[in-house]
């Protein structure tokens, strides 16, 4: 069973989506030990002992995560299918580089595909968050 299927079926965390299931679209992106990985290309037992972060872990029930807020503000999602993958990729990007340039954001999101937005709003949302302090980000 792939890690993506495990997260969705065994853990009932269906926020992580299945797009291409061969590692090109990024819809299945989650964090494993803080690093962004394509969960469709991992087998569930490979996560043994690891800390996983999925989109369900962003923000609180009463308060959106800064990235979620920014995605909303910038209309960085329409159908929302790619969004969890983009959010987890964005968390990873900003952890590594809290103040990326526009070019760096473009490069960093190049492994995630979106059919709806044309990407510019996504880049704007990520840049907006990067400008604010990252200290409160969990």
């Amino acid at each position: 069973m792939t890690l993506a299927d495990f997260v969705r079926q065994e853990l009932n965390l269906t926020g992580t989506h299945l797009g291409c299931e061969h590692g090109v679209c990024g819809a299945c992106t989650i964090l494993m030990n803080g690093e962004a990985v394509r969960s469709c290309l991992m087998l569930a037992p490979q996560a043994d002992g690891a800390v996983l972060n999925t989109v369900e872990g962003l923000g609180e029930s009463q308060e959106l995560h800064p990235l979620q807020r920014a995605f909303q503000d910038h209309h960085a999602l329409q159908c929302g299918f790619c969004t969890p993958g983009f959010l987890m990729t964005a968390v990873a990007i900003l952890k590594e580089n809290p103040t990326p340039s526009r070019e760096e954001v473009r490069e960093a999101i190049s492994g995630n595909i979106c059919r709806c937005t044309g990407y510019q709003p996504i880049i704007n949302a990520i840049l907006q968050v990067s400008k604010k302090s990252m200290e409160t980000e969990k």
Binding site: E35, L41, P45, A92, G111
Partner: protein, 294 residues
């Protein structure tokens, strides 16, 4: 889009892994980063009966340099770790420059040095760079270790000299001369896509501004990365003049015998291979000359 059923082993020690590979032979596939194997399995283009997951063999992940500047990297080392490594950047700038070209960072978080090399995709950067750098691979089985040079390792499309009971445990990079000029160029539809064609190049110049040594490898041009000997010979003994890069482009384009496929025609690959060689030489010369001035 799910793998066909398979038996799964995750050995925690190398001898255990080698025992499994000996027992199952070509019914087994080794799973390291999974960034090439898992897509094939999910698409059912590969249906191994047995998977030997080597990710617990943490001893196979390391980056080390000795006093002679020989860089040794374990087969299980993640590409992303190599990318972040100060040691790699200092010891081999060409290798360091090739790493970010591999797919996307999510892929490099899992993908390994050994995995990319034994998978031997014709468009992959690491096999091509290994060939140019004349590295040595350590192939380990229950019977012992074989050392195979890169030039003897890549046989054909997705086919290497690795035997079914062997693991690529480490790669040894000869010490790099900091005076060398180098460049790596590739072209792809979008950043991170498989290279349509690529060129990696290395030159050594002397105090009289003459090229003493040159290495040129092209990738994405057929089943395996291709060293372009005629182009290398054309550079040696030459003092770079404005025509040299253009001449190089012409020779490289003539020498390449690429395939046509969905992504590009053979003619396109030949021509663009030449263009990339020209750009690579220009960059490499700048680098080589800037070292001379120091």
């Amino acid at each position: 889009m799910k793998p066909a059923p398979f038996e799964y082993f995750a050995p925690s020690e190398l001898p255990e892994a080698l025992e499994l590979l000996e027992r199952y032979g070509d019914e087994a596939k080794v799973l390291a980063g999974g960034q090439s194997l898992m897509p094939l399995m999910n698409l059912r283009l590969a249906r191994p009966k047995v998977i030997v997951d080597i990710n617990r063999l943490s001893n196979l992940s390391f980056i080390a340099v000795n006093s002679s500047g020989v860089l040794t990297v374990g087969g299980l080392t993640r590409q992303r770790e190599m990318e972040r490594s100060v040691v790699v950047r200092q010891q081999n700038p060409l290798l360091a420059a090739a790493l970010p070209m591999i797919g996307h960072f999510q892929i490099r978080n899992r993908g390994t040095l050994g995995g990319s090399i034994v998978h031997a995709d014709p468009a992959a950067e690491l096999p091509a760079v290994s060939l140019l750098l004349e590295v040595e691979f350590s192939l380990r089985s229950k019977s012992g270790v074989r050392r195979v040079r890169a030039q003897d390792f890549f046989m054909d499309y997705l086919t290497t000299a690795l035997r079914p009971d062997e693991l690529l445990t480490e790669v040894q990079f000869p010490s790099w001369s900091q005076r060398d000029g180098w460049a790596i160029e590739e072209i792809a539809r979008r950043n991170g896509d498989f290279a349509i064609v690529g060129v990696a190049l290395r030159i050594r110049m002397d105090e009289a501004d003459m090229i003493r040594n040159a290495g040129i490898v092209t990738f994405g041009v057929g089943g395996i990365p291709q060293r372009v000997h005629r182009a290398e010979e054309g550079l040696i003994g030459r003092k770079p003049d404005p025509q040299l890069a253009a001449e190089l482009a012409k020779v490289v384009a003539e020498e390449l015998k690429p395939d046509s496929d969905l992504h590009a025609s053979a003619e396109y690959r030949k021509e663009v291979g030449g263009v990339l060689a020209r750009r690579a030489l220009t960059s490499a010369l700048v680098r080589a000359r800037s070292k001379e001035e120091n």
